[in-house]
């Protein structure tokens, strides 16, 4: 074995171990949100802290540095080893990038942040329940401060938020996102103005739905789209999420809505979309960039794909609506397919992001993006968040939360210390639309197949185009490679225009 191959193998072992540790942290996090006794929060925070510390120490250890420096110039990032395969070269370059990202953060900082996150999550749960922003504010202040410090440590050229965003949407800048989101915001607000006055009846979607029947139906749906119980499972949590530790252990959660049937089903399709991506990653590359998702933004395109392009589509419900009717005869037997399809696609401004319809959803995200960008830049204070939140809600969606639990306390992200994540939700919409239009062009008969409960075409396409690529490319490059055109919001706007002009019988230019 040459020295380069030896170094590569050593780095691979370390990298794989770190990936395993990450998976363990993910399980601890899953447990915290699903089954952990409430009194154990402090201990869990300590467990997560120590794991974060170990992982960080390992990722920034001298031995990694020494091994890497025998393969690549640490400063310039130019490969120096001559006998690496192209795949290995790519892997080494990603290790190098990760190493630089990690080594700028001191271990104590990472441990501290992890512990703070875990505590903040516990406090956020209480604050949300008691509608008490004051309780959460000191934690949020510390989280903002630490994230700003993190940004400074990582470094940036234009905006401190760039440093945070990069982790979730590698290759995209704050400026690009700001620009794109302005465009999405303007488009959405003008679309909303047109369809606001129209009315669709969706009352029948809001009644009482037996949980066991809901989950039995959901299981059929998950089985059909290929989410296997061999390598995944479904639990309940306050906020639906995906917890992955390996392509063979990719769990999702949902939260049963008191009144709405469709929300739970869409949560599940969304999270299963994420899970399918993870379980579809090449397992032989576990522990290297080739076995990793491309970015969170691409991840989000996968969840949005199943949630909106499939789960809110006519062909999908052509197959599943009769089954749903059979599950809930008293509520649905008199509702026609057309009524049902219109109802699940009803556009109606609402307070909760997770319950928002497809059209208004991006506005919720744009609002959060604007606030967190300003928090990090220091242009806005934590204490002003509730007021700014409410004012923006009024301005963009025309409604105002009555309390913080349905306002600025609704999402867990900030409590998790996650800044720069929210934009990926809308990037996901935009990416998904561009990918889907390419898919549909290649497979004009997709609607017939989906209507026959056959998703094999989609699976093959996603597997060959997205899953198998791991993190070979940056998000925007992957989109371009797969679709043949540059990343743009055009496909997304076209999709909404076509779909909603039909549903609301209006003309949209």
């Amino acid at each position: 074995m040459t020295n380069a191959q030896y170094c590569f193998q050593q780095l691979y072992n370390l990298s794989r171990q770190n990936k395993v540790l990450k998976g363990i942290s993910s399980l601890l996090d899953w447990d915290q949100k699903t089954y952990m006794p409430s009194g154990a929060a402090e201990n869990r925070a300590n467990q997560l802290k120590i794991l974060a510390g170990i992982t960080h120490r390992e990722k920034t250890s001298l031995s990694i540095r020494n091994l890497l420096s025998q393969l690549i110039d640490l400063k310039s990032g130019n490969l120096t080893a001559i006998d690496l395969t192209p795949e290995q070269q790519l892997i080494v370059q990603e290790w190098h990038r990760e190493y630089l990202q990690n080594s700028v953060l001191p271990t104590e900082f990472v441990e501290e942040l992890t512990k703070l996150q875990s505590q903040a999550i516990a406090v956020w749960h209480v604050a949300k329940k008691e509608n008490d922003f004051q309780k959460f504010a000191p934690f949020l202040e510390r989280l903002v401060l630490m994230n700003r410090q993190k940004a400074d440590l990582i470094g940036y050229t234009d905006h401190p938020y760039d440093a945070l965003l990069d982790k979730y949407a590698h290759g995209m800048t704050t400026e690009q996102v700001t620009h794109l989101f302005e465009s999405v915001k303007n488009f959405t607000i003008s679309l909303l103005a047109k369809i606001k006055s129209q009315t669709i009846v969706d009352d029948f979607l809001y009644s009482s739905w037996d949980s066991a029947k809901q989950m039995a139906f959901a299981q059929q749906m998950l089985d059909a789209i290929g989410y296997s119980q061999q390598i995944g499972r479904v639990d309940f949590s306050a906020h639906p999420f995906l917890a992955v530790s390996h392509p063979t252990d990719s769990r999702i959660t949902t939260s049963l809505h008191e009144k709405s049937l469709i929300k739970n089903l869409l949560f599940l399709l969304h999270e299963a979309g994420h899970a399918l991506y993870e379980t579809g990653l090449p397992v032989e590359h576990f522990g290297t960039a080739l076995g990793e998702h491309c970015s969170i933004a691409i991840h989000e395109s996968q969840s949005k794909w199943w949630e909106t392009h499939i789960g809110l589509s006519e062909p999908f419900w052509h197959h599943f609506y009769p089954i749903l009717q059979k599950s809930f005869p008293p509520q649905l037997e008199k509702i026609t397919f057309h009524q049902f399809y219109q109802a699940i696609n009803k556009v109606q401004p609402s307070l909760i992001r997770l319950e928002a319809d497809e059209v208004t959803y991006p506005l919720h995200v744009v609002l959060r993006f604007e606030l967190e960008k300003d928090l990090i830049a220091g242009n806005i204070r934590v204490k002003d968040i509730p007021e700014s939140w409410n004012a923006k809600m009024q301005q963009y969606l025309g409604i105002r939360p009555k309390n913080h639990s349905e306002g600025c306390l609704q999402d867990i992200h900030w409590a998790m210390g996650v800044f720069g994540y929210f934009p990926t939700y809308v990037l996901g919409n935009v990416f998904a639309a561009q990918l889907f239009s390419s898919f549909a062009k290649n497979h004009p008969n997709w609607e017939i197949q989906v209507a026959q409960n056959d998703f094999s075409l989609i699976h093959t396409w996603l597997k060959n185009k997205i899953y198998c690529q791991g993190r070979r490319f940056k998000s925007s490059d992957l989109i371009q490679l797969v679709t043949g055109s540059e990343l743009s919001e055009k496909a997304y706007f076209d999709y909404l225009k076509t779909k909603y002009s039909k549903i609301y019988e209006i003309s949209i230019k």
């Binding site: 363990i24 399980l27 952990m36 006794p37 201990n43 300590n46 120590i50 995944g232 063979t248």
Partner: protein
Amino acid sequence: MNKTQKNYQTLHEMSKQHSLLKGISALLDWDQETYMPPGAASNRAEQLKVMAGITHREKTSDQFKDALNQLIDLKTGEFCASDLSAEQQASLKEWRKDYNKATALPSEFVEELAQLQSQAINAWRNAKKENAFQQFAPFLDRIVEMNKRKAEYFGYEEHPYDALLNEYEPDITTKQVTAIFSQLQHFITPLLKKIVTQEIDDSFLTGEWDHSKQMTFAYKLLDAMGYSRDKGRVDFSSHPFSSSTHPTDSRITTRIHPTSLMSNIMVILHEGGHSLYEMGLPVEHFGSPLGEYRSLGIHESQSRWWETRIGLSQPFWKHYFPVLKETFHDELHAIKFDDFYRAINKVKPSLIRVEADEMTYPLHVILRFELEKGLIEGTIKVRDIPELWNTKMKEYIGIEPKNNSEGCLQDIHWAMGAFGYFPTYALGNLYAAHLFEAFAKENPTWEKQVSEGQLDFIREWLQKKIYCHGRKYTTLQLLKKATGQEFSEKAYLNYISNKYGKIYSL
């Protein structure tokens, strides 16, 4: 703070990290038994292997060694500082033992064992399901081999099994256990022969019992025992267990038997007893030996205490039988208390250890002890296990399994690589009896109090006598301190002959 105290604190901080890591592995185990998707088994094995490796590295690191060496000489065991409290001295002694034990095993060995265990658990699960000992045998072979090597690494004076037993019950030797068990077996088997001639009707305990009602009743018991639900939880697994990562996170699992009413109740009391011990350990000492359970034998005394001494007692059911009758009115309304009490204490030789009655239970354990001792000393081969198992079942308990699933494949312990563990189950009974005698003397009205539904004072007594001490005393010291008497099996033999003498009018 002076230098010694500072050093002690540093050591405690480092050690706390080890406990946290151990807790993480415990959670991975818990998840594997409860909620993990089946396809994730090999990834879980890798996770456990990585955790075991890291934990081992940390526990044997030079920094930890240096910190320990500042306060106690690792070789001689002499203290290096004069201003240590008695508690701290006790703690350091235990730390030293742990360290010497941990450094006895090379990290590759520890990692290999952890991975093998995880794979073996899976193989065992399938083998049990399909009643195919052959599937499990190669794993058991490797596990026995590794346990032999482990014994060599640890070292021993008399018997290789000593080294393994020492992990779970550090104060007692193979020779002592062999002697106690032989006495027990010779006491119980003849008693059993007299008893099985009498038939008690317990048919009304078998039937279909609504699962959610069973669990409602179970939660009532846990609440009364003082099991905090914000520090624990109950789930289901094929083999019930308790899993604690910290006094604030101490979980148990149970299983609902298809026909037996008492199975779940007994499991809940048993695992609840384990869990109360963990919840009651002094949280300020978390991470030091003073915040850890004494030994598995003592642990088992706590579970058997609640399961048998309380859960099979007359006073307990004076209070709870009416509650149970209310829960299962249709099934139980016509049953008289005396008949119920006799039925739940019915001695009936059975095949499955975890379903055994109080009297035959130790025989199941003795059988396993003899087999695993033989495997370790090399006098028994893995392939002979099924046959030997069945022979001993016949000899000690008088019945024989029809297949290996209800024979030598029934328990998870060997798959977990836990040799030396089984004896603690029977020792737990003996310890519990020894402790209970003192408890009853100190609380002469215990029967009245329990029959009024009070259970808190029991937990408080245990808190004071057992939980709060962590590993401050050795097992035998702890038993003596709690009772004022040297430990012996007498209390247990008295208890059994009195109780069953009455029930069976012998």
